[in-house]
């Protein structure tokens, strides 16, 4: 850190302390704030998503559709067939960039002879991507994606059509459970580079406030909710 950054930093922090008429936090005050940071308090609970798992999954599907996603509920063995059929139904090419994740690798893609898959991140020319999801939020029908070697972020954004495979057991009530799951997976002091939460396809209301889908991200979001 150079001297100028140091002094700029001191200038801002001291300015804050002067305005708040105190010095650097210390003693009990500091302990209380550190405590709040170490054990985060939840806000008011949203009751509509406090449900048994099966109903949670149903609520997820309902909200996802309200938000312009499409949903198919399938058995694990039917995942490749549903992907192929969705692409055919929508006149899309039978070609996709796929997240190199063990979850997706476990399906029998060979059963779909016409489907051409490429594992890796998305290129500008990809029309379709297929990824898993870290979690689904029942409260709003929101998908949660965590970046990593098994899930490049560009797959969530570049292609026109995004197909997501979500396991029923990964559906949770609200954000709070997602945070808990992230802390479990990555440790309390760590996070993946990018966590995307995605609610429906990309949209804009910037021209005359009328909603149009497919502004910069995917125009179509198709979610396969898989029984497990």
């Amino acid at each position: 850190m150079s001297d100028t950054t140091n002094s700029a930093r001191a200038q801002i922090l001291n300015g804050i302390r002067r305005s708040l008429r105190r010095g650097e936090l210390g003693g009990q005050q500091r302990q209380a704030v550190e405590q709040r940071l170490a054990t985060p308090e939840r806000g008011p609970i949203v009751a509509r998503a406090q449900l048994p798992q099966a109903e949670k999954v149903a609520l997820f599907c309902q909200w996802a559709e309200v938000n312009n996603a499409t949903v198919a509920r399938v058995e694990p063995r039917d995942v490749p067939a549903e992907v192929a059929s969705y692409l055919a139904r929508n006149n899309l090419p039978a070609e996709a960039a796929v997240a190199p994740s063990p979850l997706l690798g476990g399906y029998d893609w060979e059963s779909q002879k016409l489907l051409v898959l490429r594992r890796g991140r998305a290129e500008g020319s990809d029309q379709v991507s297929i990824t898993g999801a870290f979690a689904g939020i029942a409260e709003t029908g929101t998908l949660v994606m965590a970046s990593g070697p098994d899930h490049p972020v560009s797959l969530n954004l570049l292609p026109d059509t995004h197909i997501v495979v979500l396991r029923e057991s990964d559906v949770v009530s609200g954000y709070e459970e997602v945070w808990a799951k992230l802390r479990d997976r990555y440790g309390k002091n760590n996070m993946p580079r990018t966590v995307n939460t995605i609610t429906g396809p990309s949209r804009t209301g910037d021209i005359e406030q009328a909603m149009e889908l497919g502004a910069h991200g995917p125009r179509r979001l198709h979610i396969l909710v898989v029984r497990d």
Partner: protein, 477 residues
């Protein structure tokens, strides 16, 4: 951005006479506010969440130094960099230097009000770096060289036809020579043109809705996905955020996210909410290899601990302007600077000075709708009143107003004279056409009657005369 807030009165005249603007504003009034109302009704916990949101921001502000240091510690631990910018000039310098260090020719920008505040685009252009706005609304107004007119819908003042003309003019050299008439075609064309820019950009610059101290993450809420392309494809990601954006934990973010989307657009959730934490990890297949956060103060720290502190809770949802009768009549440009509407009337005098923006806090009917919808319960009318008092104390009020008030206080202290003068005045008012219950013209009130009629009180003399006639207590001289 160069302020024209001092020309507020002229700006208002222009706005009221612009038919395209008036059309757009008519849509805004029904659209956003109706959708917000429905979203709030669908969530029984909404009011409790607003209380909690207010408390979280208050707590964060009371411990702002602590949370900023925590945030910095976490960002640094994961390989990112935090830069401190006391002033707008410092922030411009830091960002310019970062872009130069990356050898940047183009910067993909996602909508940031703070970038407008520090006039970043002009600075980058001066360095020979092309800033490309990627939010559709921002892109449209960048092509038209206009400032944003709304904090979440920057091109809300334009019609589809105006957008079509702008695209034809700017996209024709790229081979798009057909004038489009459908909204979805306009969106698709912009998507195509901007996609090339994303793939070429060296730096992605975004704002942040929240900075999370617990994890060192910057959090962004958008509908288009442009911010996510900006923070994923280029090799350097710069986040520009003002210091009051920091909040303690992810749990706090959950509360704020729930009130933000519903207040802004009436959506249950925006399409994309993204947490970025540090640069890409070694094993990642994409993402930027550098992550920088620029923390801007620009006068905010001096608001802490004052009676104006409440304004720092603002989460920039836009609800106050969507529900403001003044904004609904004049739109955002009339406010003359970056932040319009009630929050602009409170923030602008603070950020650029009461001499420049002293008229803005007067642009209120004190109807209180802004405060009643603000997700973090900022007492906006109270803060505007506070500026008015400060302005009056400093004699920045126009001479006519000061003289009028001086005359009134002279009369008010002489009851007999007061009654005699008001009786005469009341009789004279009849001459200005009270017959149909409204005045089209009033002496000394041309500023009012130029754009609307003044409602006439029922006939029957002055208040004092009627009071006496109805047997009210006598006023002792």
């Amino acid at each position: 951005m160069q302020s024209t807030a001092h020309d507020f009165k002229e700006n208002v005249g222009t706005a009221l006479a612009d038919p395209n603007l008036q059309d757009s504003l008519a849509k805004l009034k029904v659209g956003f506010s109706e959708r917000r109302r429905q979203a709030a009704e669908r969530l029984p916990e909404f009011e409790a969440l607003r209380d909690r949101a207010r408390d979280i921001k208050n707590h964060a502000l009371a411990n702002l130094d602590f949370y900023l240091e925590e945030f910095e510690r976490k960002v640094t631990a994961l390989g990112g960099h935090v830069h401190w910018a006391p002033t707008a000039a410092d922030a411009r310098q830091i960002i310019g230097d970062l872009c130069k260090s990356a050898g940047a020719r183009t910067v993909a920008k996602s909508k940031s009000m703070v970038a407008e505040e520090i006039a970043l685009n002009e600075h980058l252009e001066g360095l020979g770096i092309a800033p490309i706005e990627t939010d559709l609304g921002e892109y449209i107004i960048q092509l038209r060289h206009e400032p944003p007119s709304h904090i979440i819908a920057p091109a809300v003042h334009l019609t589809k036809d105006q957008v079509a003309d702008t695209f034809l003019e700017h996209h024709a050299p790229l081979g798009f020579t057909k004038r489009l008439t459908e909204r979805n075609d306009l969106v698709a064309e912009a998507r195509y043109v901007l996609r090339q820019k994303f793939l070429e950009a060296d730096v992605g610059l975004t704002g942040a809705n929240f900075l999370v101290a617990e994890t060192g993450s910057s959090m962004l809420v958008t509908n288009e996905g442009n911010a996510d392309l900006s923070n994923t494809l280029p090799r350097m990601h710069i986040v520009l955020a003002s210091i009051e954006k920091v909040i303690p934990t992810l749990e706090d973010a959950a509360v704020l996210l729930r009130v933000l989307a519903r207040s802004a657009t009436g959506q249950e959730s925006s399409a994309y909410t993204t947490l970025n934490t540090g640069p890409r990890r070694d094993s990642d297949l994409d993402g930027p290899s550098q992550y920088h956060v620029v923390l801007l103060d620009n006068g905010r720290s001096s608001v802490l601990g004052t009676e104006m502190q409440d304004m720092l809770r603002c989460i920039r949802c836009g609800a106050c302007m969507n529900h403001c009768p003044v904004y609904g009549a004049i739109g955002g440009h009339a406010y003359g600077w970056v932040y319009p509407g009630p929050i602009g009337a409170v923030l602008t005098p603070q950020l650029i000075g009461v001499d420049e923006a002293g008229d803005l806090p007067n642009a209120s009917t004190f109807c209180g709708r802004c405060e009643s919808v603000c997700p973090v319960r900022i007492p906006l009318p109270g803060l505007m009143r506070h500026w008015r008092e400060r302005e009056f104390e400093r004699h920045l009020t126009p001479r006519a107003v000061r003289q009028g008030l001086a005359l009134w206080s002279f009369l008010a202290r002489r009851p007999k004279l007061y009654r005699r003068v008001t009786q005469v005045a009341n009789r004279m008012l009849a001459l200005f056409g009270r017959a149909d219950g409204r005045y089209r013209k009033l002496p000394l009130a041309g500023g009012w009657t130029q754009f609307r009629d003044f409602p006439a009180p029922p006939a029957g003399g002055t208040f004092h005369a009627q009071w006496a006639r109805h047997g009210g207590a006598r006023v002792r001289p």
